[in-house]
């Protein structure tokens, strides 16, 4: 889908991209980096809108330096910033953008109706955009990127400004763009955690350099660590300790908790051996007559990609994971 070869972009005072070589295949790919890591610059180059200082890049097999218009016809782009005029309706706007991508009038209208429905906009689509909530606006922005049925969409920070529920919905939608619509996705974010659930592949950039590129399953090798949190009762004023002792008595060894972190003392981490472990925890908690607040799988987090760079011990990494998870 995308291939860059020692791609560099230098501005008079900063180097936005520094010899970035990366290969992106079909699927959902996350482009992760802090603000100013060069994500938006990369997107601009990929759309053929800004020439690279050196190196080359190809999108869908087309060279960005010479085939910009052809690329832009087959690629959708959702900008990070607001880009919607408030005094037109979503339908009107998306139809216009469809025609701007080269769709004939009738097709533009049909595709608009379809696309707006797919992103979850119904009756509201006839109202002026000015009255929409942030979540609805993000959907319109997504719809205009998808309306011409591109082979690839570039989504720049699509979850920006959304509340947790809206964030989850948007991520679900992004996942469906590939699984249901068959359109490959490059999605940028500065939040590592939210991409690991959505992406097949993650590219991490920092300071314009490639930090790491690998599939999400590599990042989050399932060690199935279980995190357990319980309530206290009159009988067991320290529920956590009671569970720990009960589990120990049954031969389940506890992993080192995320000591030192606030609230971490109440989270027990154990290694799940399979289905039995879940049952065991349930029984133990039920026997003690206390409440189970949560029992969840805890995987390695993408955030560890940064700590991996340093030669830290596994122990410290796990603490990091707890910190990000809690």
């Amino acid at each position: 889908m995308i291939a860059t070869e020692s791609l560099s972009k230098r501005f008079p005072r900063v180097t936005a991209l520094d010899r970035l070589s990366v290969d992106v295949g079909p699927g959902v790919t996350g482009l992760v980096g802090a603000n100013g890591a060069g994500k938006s610059t990369l997107i601009k180059i990929l759309l053929g809108l800004s020439p690279a200082t050196e190196g080359r890049a190809e999108v869908l097999g087309l060279d960005v330096a010479t085939k910009g218009a052809a690329i832009r016809e087959r690629v959708g782009y959702m900008p990070e910033h607001d880009c919607l005029p408030p005094d037109v309706s979503a339908t009107e706007f998306v139809v216009h953008m469809a025609r701007m991508s080269g769709l004939p009038p009738t097709a533009a209208r049909e595709r608009t109706a379809d696309t707006l429905r797919h992103v979850g906009l119904y009756e509201e689509r006839y109202r002026p955009i000015g009255g929409y909530s942030t979540g609805m606006k993000q959907r319109v922005k997504l719809a205009q990127a998808l309306v011409h049925d591109p082979q690839l969409v570039l989504l720049d920070e699509p979850t920006n400004g959304l509340d947790p529920v809206g964030r989850d919905e948007m991520l679900g939608l992004i996942r469906r763009i590939y699984t249901d619509f068959g359109i490959s996705v490059l999605v940028t974010s500065h939040l590592l955690g939210e991409l690991e659930r959505t992406c097949d592949h993650v590219v991490v950039v920092d300071g314009g350099k490639l930090l790491r590129s690998s599939s999400t399953t590599d990042f989050t090798q399932i060690t199935t660590t279980l995190a357990i949190e319980v309530t206290d009762s009159d009988e067991h004023p320290d529920g956590t300790r009671a569970v720990r002792e009960a589990l120990h008595a049954r031969g389940v060894d506890l992993l080192e908790g995320g000591g030192g972190l606030p609230g971490a003392g109440h989270v027990l981490l154990i290694t799940a051996q399979g289905e039995e472990t879940y049952d065991l925890v349930r029984d133990v908690v039920a026997d003690l007559g206390i409440g189970l607040v949560r029992m969840e799988q805890r995987r390695h987090h993408i955030s560890e990609v940064f700590t991996n760079e340093d030669s830290r011990t596994g122990e410290e990494q796990r603490k990091e994971a707890v910190g990000h998870g809690g």
Binding site: K44, A70, R72, E92, M97, S101, A107, D114, H118, F181
Partner: protein, 305 residues
């Protein structure tokens, strides 16, 4: 309300998700008409927008009102000419736009910012450039759209006059010649005013500033030039009158058409530029139109993503 909305949206979305799945995604295999079609689409959208079509009711009021204001005097003149069986129309075709210049300026001032400032303000420009079109296509589409809108505004009353004149059985040859000269004149006026309006409006994303600046440039320059011309006329230095006319868009068109399009000049003393001076008028007019285009290109080269 603002708090309720996010609560409602997820509920609606999750309720409908099964339905979405049933309909399924249909991919598009039809034609993709490319860059020139996209440019034409932007042109027609901008042209329609100049009369408020495809926009809210509120934004239709002013352009439509100005259009009516432009046409009503023409209709009245025709009615008078027909009723009194006059031998000629009360006003020349070429003179009409000069007389109505305030209305035209107001139209440019309201619609040029509408056309380009909105795209800047709401950051729709980067979105356009993520499509097949290039900077030049955007500038050309916007320029052509506003010029066309102005041409419609200025040519429509001339058409009313022409049809009326034929109905009043005035001389066909004379009227057709006058009408054609009028059309050439308003075409040049449309290009010039559209260019100036867009250049000024494209500098600011604020519509209000754009409107004020366009009005200032068009009417203040006209007022200043007319005043200076009147002073020069009073002092008897008639030679300088024609040269002063180069410094405002309205007098520029006025001078150009009185030199070449058989119009009678509205300059003080009724003395328009001579043919030699008229050539300078043509060059300045065309140069200004080209300069506006060049400035717009420069402006939009910087407005990327």
């Amino acid at each position: 309300m603002a708090v309720e909305q996010p609560m409602r949206t997820p509920a609606a979305a999750s309720g409908d998700q099964t339905r979405i799945h049933n309909i399924g995604y249909r991919s598009y295999d039809g034609p993709r008409l490319g860059r020139s079609y996209a440019t034409r689409s932007l042109y027609s959208q901008s042209l329609r927008g100049s009369y408020g079509l495809g926009r809210s009711v509120k934004s239709k009021v002013l352009p439509m009102l100005l259009f009516v204001v432009m046409c009503v005097p023409a209709a009245i003149m025709v009615a008078v000419a027909v009723a009194t069986k006059a031998k000629d129309l009360p006003l020349d075709y070429t003179r009409y736009a000069i007389v109505m210049q305030a209305v035209i300026s107001l139209y440019v001032a309201s619609q040029a910012p509408q056309s380009v400032s909105r795209d800047l303000r709401f950051k729709t420009v980067p979105l356009y450039f993520s499509r097949p079109i290039e900077t030049a296509d955007y500038v050309r589409a916007k320029f052509a759209a506003l010029a066309s809108a102005l041409f419609i505004l200025t040519a429509a009353p001339l058409l009313v006059l022409y049809v009326g004149a034929l109905l009043a059985k005035l001389d066909f040859g004379d009227q057709t010649k006058g009408f054609a000269q009028g059309l050439v004149s308003v075409a040049l006026l449309s290009l010039l005013f559209a260019g100036l309006g867009l250049v000024i409006a494209s500098v600011t994303p604020r519509r209000g500033f754009g409107i004020a600046a366009v009005i200032a440039v068009l009417t203040i320059s006209y007022g200043a030039v007319s005043t200076l011309q009147a002073i020069a006329d009073a002092q008897g230095s008639t030679g300088s009158i024609a040269w002063m006319g180069l410094f405002s868009p309205v007098t520029l068109i006025d001078g150009l058409q009185s030199a070449f399009l058989g119009a009678s000049s509205t300059f003080p003393g009724g003395v328009g530029p001579t043919n030699g001076e008229g050539v300078v008028y043509v060059l300045v007019t065309l140069g200004l139109i080209a300069a506006c285009y060049g400035l717009l290109m420069r402006r939009y080269r910087k407005v990327g993503l």
